[in-house]
């Protein structure tokens, strides 16, 4: 996983949100490096509302960081 995070800067809030989703997923990859296991787990938690909400919580935490890094994209408004 080389060079997957060159910067926290994004052009738009939407891209910032996508980056937050990515940041949430990478920790899972680093903890469970076996792609096969992750593929097996995915359909399971993707149909479990508790897990979906928990994922959303992680994204929210990362989005706060990304938004702050981009000064909330103030220049665009």
């Amino acid at each position: 996983m080389a060079d997957w995070l060159p910067t926290l800067k994004t052009a738009t809030p939407e891209e910032g949100y996508d980056l937050a989703v990515k940041l949430a997923r990478v920790a899972v990859k680093l903890t469970q490096p076996d792609a096969e296991v992750r593929d097996r787990l995915r359909p399971e938690y993707a149909e479990d509302s508790d897990a979906l909400i928990a994922v959303s919580q992680v994204v929210a935490t990362h989005f706060a960081t990304v938004a702050s890094a981009n000064d909330y994209w103030q220049d665009r408004t």
Copy 2:
């Protein structure tokens, strides 16, 4: 889902809160893109107090970001 988040700026705290709710939901959509599955899960977690509180936690985290992005709507007070 094109252009769903043009800005974090909102006119009022209430609209900021609505945006936080939206931000919480989008992560669920991105993790479970199948609308049919989501529709099936919704009535389930909407009657589960643990899930409702967990959703509220995600909204709280996003609201902190949106409120900060709007400088807490200081200009209005």
Copy 3:
């Protein structure tokens, strides 16, 4: 639910805390709009310590936002 959040400013820390409680509850209402269902769930989670602690966590997150919005009520001290 029109105009339920005109401002994040409150006169006192206590009122700020009450606002945080309100902010925590509104997300539940928006996710489960049926008051009858919510009334049914309430006695259940109000006797479940895990749920009570989770509610307290949501309030804590919102209180951080409200306190920051009020500059920690510095003018009063």
Copy 4:
């Protein structure tokens, strides 16, 4: 519960921590106002490590707010 939170300022970090504990408890009281029920729940969660850790999480969130409100008690160092 009148006037339980006149200020977020405390003289020392320790008092700030105690205030964070108090802030965590008040949300529980507001959600479950019946003291008898709370007294019944207490021994239960006080012997449940998951609950104890969850309480500690709420305290941590409030302590962040109180510490920030006191500018981390910089004047004392």
Copy 5:
């Protein structure tokens, strides 16, 4: 537990981390003051990965506070 938290300042990030661990533990002590009960619970949660991760979350929240109080130990770099 007198005078256990004279300051949030630490000489190094590592000591700051240790302080965060301490801050996480004190809330447990205050909620469950009986050392015997805590000693009984410890081996239990220390072998429960969910509990270990939850403890790590509390430490993370406190570390954010301690790091900020120390201005991220900028003077050392």
Copy 6:
């Protein structure tokens, strides 16, 4: 575990993320110092999606701290 955290500064966001992962793991080590027990728990939670998401949440909290300590690596953009 001497000198494992000399600084929060990292050259790149990616190294900052790696540091966040490390920060998340150390709290587990301090709570469960027995490496054998940890090795036994690892395969278990590494196949449990709830645990993986919880780990990701801890990493997200630490990444916020590390990113802030590095001023979001602004100099690089």
